[in-house]
Amino acid sequence: MWSGKRSIGLSKFCVLVFMGLLMGTVVVAPWLTAWFVSFSQTMQGAESLFMATIYIGAIPAAYLLHNLLQLLRRIEAGQVFITENVECLRRISWCCFAGAGVAAVSGFYYLAWLFVFVAAAFMGLIVRVVKNVVAQAVALKDESDYTV
């Protein structure tokens, strides 16, 4: 039977898979970029730029995944509408914007990065709205808890 607890477990598993993928990408980045550059004939000599994008972009991505895991752990513990989660969502949103910034700059040497920029910025915006909703929910819960 599917339950909320299993759903959180699946989400945590997915976050861990993404963490693994991120670490894998960082480790194999030199070979990955070399392969990509040799594959696309027009990007000769851009290995260092791709490497820079991957390594700089990995920082907000790792921080985002760390925050996501923290958020899921708190939700699993039944702590949903708390200020810490609002802060966590705020950090996740800023990580998305940071990733979008890195992708936007990278768009100058490889246009396809602009798709990543749009996707990350849009995701950041959605998370920011969710953060605002959770912040209101925290305020409502606080008021309800302190109504005697």
Binding site: D142, T147, V148
Partner: protein
């Protein structure tokens, strides 16, 4: 908050303990403590009614408005 809860004063006047009042009005001691320490953000009419009945007083005896300095 400029609303001051004078529950302690009324309880002292009626010589009633927290446990006794909590039992009479049907709320937990923890909630009564929230009310007494001024941490409460709102009070239900039903709770106020029960307090007034238990302490034989008026809502004005429990709540007071004081201008913030």
């Amino acid at each position: 908050m400029p609303i001051v809860v004078n529950l302690d004063v009324m309880m002292a006047k009626r010589k009633m303990s927290s446990g006794e009042l909590a039992e009479k009005i049907g709320i937990s001691q923890a909630n009564l403590s929230i009310l007494k320490t001024g941490k409460a953000k709102a009070i239900r009419f039903s709770t106020m009614e029960a307090i007034c009945k238990a302490l034989e007083c008026q809502p004005g005896d429990i709540l007071e408005y004081r201008e913030e300095e």
